[in-house]
């Protein structure tokens, strides 16, 4: 659900968001990548995961996730979705 809403993410970030241990998240990401559901790339020293656009059941999976997201508590849904995506110059005050 994290990757569905945020489009990409890394293991530590996902674990932090769900307040859980890193290891099970990493294992699930590995499994999903091996199964062809996710792909990953390195950005510096961080491995970023996204959905594999070539996964043949991607549309169906995303429909299911969309439906699932609609049942999330509003606060949690908002914290997943309402994240700044636009660029921000380095050094600009918040």
């Amino acid at each position: 659900m994290f990757l569905f809403t945020r489009k990409e993410g890394y293991a530590r970030e996902i674990a932090r968001f769900f307040a859980t241990d890193l290891d099970p998240i990493q294992k699930q990401l590995d499994k999903l990548e091996l199964g062809g559901v996710l792909v990953s790339r390195m950005a510096g020293r961080t491995r970023l995961y996204t959905f594999n656009p070539r996964y043949p059941f991607l549309r169906e999976l995303q429909s299911l996730l969309e439906r699932g997201l609609s049942f999330y508590p509003p606060k949690q849904r908002e914290s997943l979705v309402m994240v700044r995506r636009r660029p921000r110059r380095r050094g600009k005050p918040l």
Partner: protein, 180 residues
């Protein structure tokens, strides 16, 4: 039987695939090796990607590969007598969101080889170009389309279904032999 060290990429792929088939494992050749075969060697790759079409248990694949001298290293298989590496990308066998319906079969002295047709091979490479702007894969698609009779109408239909008609229009002329 030809020794592994003397097998070409296609012969080795046929050898491995035939061995797996005898163990009830369906693995269809895809990826760069298909490009190499269909472009008649104008592209070379050390990868042999055999798509695990029906999601056979990884342990069964590992056991079958060990029988012919391959060992697993970081999710791929290596053999001491060949530089080629064998990988088993997860199934189902698809190009984009569509299943592959027609498999081509070639015969070698080491076994028969089931692989993507030239048309599906072009689609497979174009998928990487469409989704990741991968120019290397676009170049490979062009090599295959120009070397073999890829069905451009079918590729256009598929591109539309993938929502990539705009990108297809940009590269369509490059896929035809005379650039027509």
């Amino acid at each position: 039987m030809k020794p592994v060290r003397r097998m070409s990429q296609a012969e080795l792929a046929a050898f491995v695939q035939s061995h797996l088939k005898a163990r009830g494992i369906t693995a269809i050749l895809s990826g760069g090796a298909c490009v190499s075969i269909h472009s008649e060697g104008r592209y070379t790759s050390v990868d042999i990607d055999l798509v695990n079409a029906y999601s056979v248990n990884r342990g069964a694949i590992e056991a079958a590969m060990q029988e012919i001298g391959f060992t697993e290293q970081a999710r791929h298989f290596v053999h001491p007598d060949t530089p080629y590496i064998v990988e088993f990308p997860p199934g189902p066998l698809s190009v984009g969101a569509e299943p592959v319906r027609q498999i081509q079969e070639l015969a070698f002295s080491t076994g028969s080889l089931e692989l993507l047709s030239p048309t599906d091979c072009v689609k497979d490479r174009l998928a990487a170009y469409y989704h990741w702007d991968d120019q290397q894969c676009l170049a490979q698609a062009v090599l295959v389309a120009q070397a073999k009779d890829a069905d451009i109408k079918e590729i256009a239909r598929w591109s539309r279904a993938e929502g990539m008609m705009g990108k297809f229009r940009l590269i369509r002329a490059r896929l035809t032999p005379a650039g027509q």
